[in-house]
């Protein structure tokens, strides 16, 4: 366990030994899986707890009033900027629009009442189960992203001369999760977004290093292997667009 902690700490400062230790460990995949699962559970616990506290503190009716007020303010602001035009026709349009908007909000209020009236369990129990479900789902989301992108990158790394096995690749790239511990602070307004951006960029550096070490090649090729799936996807989309354009031209 001490060695794993040391490896995780080393990964944060892109220490080569940390990645090599992870790659060459006897049960490298298990180490990687543990890293992802534990970190995602920590991050998920914080986020789910915050969601739970927020949900317990709010009443559905109050939430509806807040939504209505927020949307009304936004619409009034848009109207102030002339988004709905000017003159008698625009006034008439605004009147009809607002009437339908209020009716839409009334549907929302009615549905909120139905949700409260027809749910067998009391609201705190619902909130607990929803938070628990959200928390338990976290490792699945993280593991699937890690595996999916790991396989995709490995395919391109192999094309670029990489020699990693699937286990080595997943083991070294699992260290990407370490900087993402910062995502636990994602719920803080404004600061949370900034912290998430830092975690992403830091994670990207760790991922490049992990791919390079697993494949025994330089970081330039590792970076190329990581961005290649996006380049190929973009090329495929462009090809599809060109194909559709070609069909349209032919049919004309």
């Amino acid at each position: 366990m001490d060695q794993l902690t040391q490896t995780l700490r080393g990964a944060l400062v892109l220490e080569e030994d940390a990645f090599v230790r992870m790659r060459d460990a006897e049960d490298s995949f298990v180490g990687g899986l543990m890293t992802i699962v534990v970190i995602s559970l920590v991050v998920g616990l914080v986020i789910s707890l915050v969601s739970f506290v927020t949900a317990v503190g709010a009443s559905p009716a109050q939430e509806m009033v807040e939504v209505q007020q927020g949307m009304r303010q936004a619409l009034e602001m848009m109207r102030g900027f002339g988004a709905f035009g000017e003159g008698p026709e625009a006034e008439e349009f605004w009147r009809i629009f607002i009437n339908n908007f209020e009716a839409g909000i009334a549907i929302g209020e009615r549905v909120t009442d139905v949700v409260v009236d027809t749910t067998p369990a009391p609201k705190p129990v619902v909130d607990i189960f929803q938070a628990l479900g959200q928390w338990v789902s976290y490792p699945f989301g993280w593991v699937s992203t890690w595996m999916f992108y790991g396989v995709l990158t490995l395919v391109f790394a192999k094309l670029l001369g990489g020699v990693a096995t699937i286990r080595e690749m997943l083991a070294t790239t699992s260290l990407v999760a370490v900087p993402h511990l910062l995502d636990a602070f994602g719920f803080i307004p404004y600061v949370g977004f900034l912290v998430s951006v830092i975690a992403f960029l830091w994670g990207l550096l760790v991922y490049v290093k992990g791919t390079a070490i697993a494949n025994r090649f330089d970081t330039g090729r590792a970076f190329l292997a990581i961005v290649a799936p996006f380049i190929v996807l973009f090329a495929l989309i462009m090809l599809f667009v060109l194909f559709v354009l070609f069909l349209v031209l032919i049919s004309n």
């Binding site: 049960d27 995949f29 298990v30 899986l33 009809i96 009437n99 339908n100 009716a103 839409g104 009334a106 549907i107 009615r110 549905v111 009442d113 139905v114 949700v115 409260v116 009236d117 027809t118 749910t119 067998p120 369990a121 129990v125 619902v126 189960f129 929803q130 628990l132 479900g133 959200q134 338990v136 789902s137 699945f140 989301g141 593991v143 699937s144 992203t145 595996m147 999916f148 396989v151 395919v155 192999k158 096995t165 699937i166 286990r167 997943l170």
Partner: protein, 239 residues
Amino acid sequence: MENDTSTFRQALDALLLRDSAYQSMRDSPSPLTRGLILIVSVGVVVALVSIVGALLTWFTSPDLGAIQEAVRQGMRDMPWWDQIPSGERQEVDEIIRQQFNIGWQIARVFAPSVTNAVVNVILNPVTLVIGWLVYGLLAFLAARVLGGRGRLDQTYGTTALAVAPRMLGVVQVVPYVQTAGLGIWALICNYLAIKNTHDLSPWRAFWATVIPFILLVLFVIGLGILGGFIAAFAIQGGL
């Protein structure tokens, strides 16, 4: 019983991508039977556990029918409703009701329900077994074309271990859990299964793993095109 325990242990090792699990399944005396037992067991156990999850989801969810009625009633109270000429209202209401119900029926199919969960006790293992039989055969053919040396029963035995990630579906005992992404884990397990059974190089094993999926996608596209042709022919022929 001992055999079942060792198959279960193999499945756990397969989940952790240990080659030894695939190799011992390949070399076991009856890989096909063991694979079948594993798949059916996982399918039934996960479906049974999911019933508890579905019950808890029902306990903590509102009545979809009541929400549907509230939305429908609310739509009729909207200002645009009054602008419809009274003589046409019944007809418009009927058209809206039909369209509206289609959407809700689709939502009901995908919404977790206790009935669906109970039906899944039968449906889940059957679907898994059919998928395994089709995939195993196609993977075996692809591997053989690419120079593989494994037998069909060995391929079935080892690819059955790719059901291992689905064992994690037992967490669905907790409502609202999303177990997305287990498919990619199963795909990696299939890759190791084919590689170890047929003694293929990494690239060949990769192609033998994905070719069955490519073939299945092509088959579905082919069916779609064929269906389109038949429909067009029927319309033109006035059938």
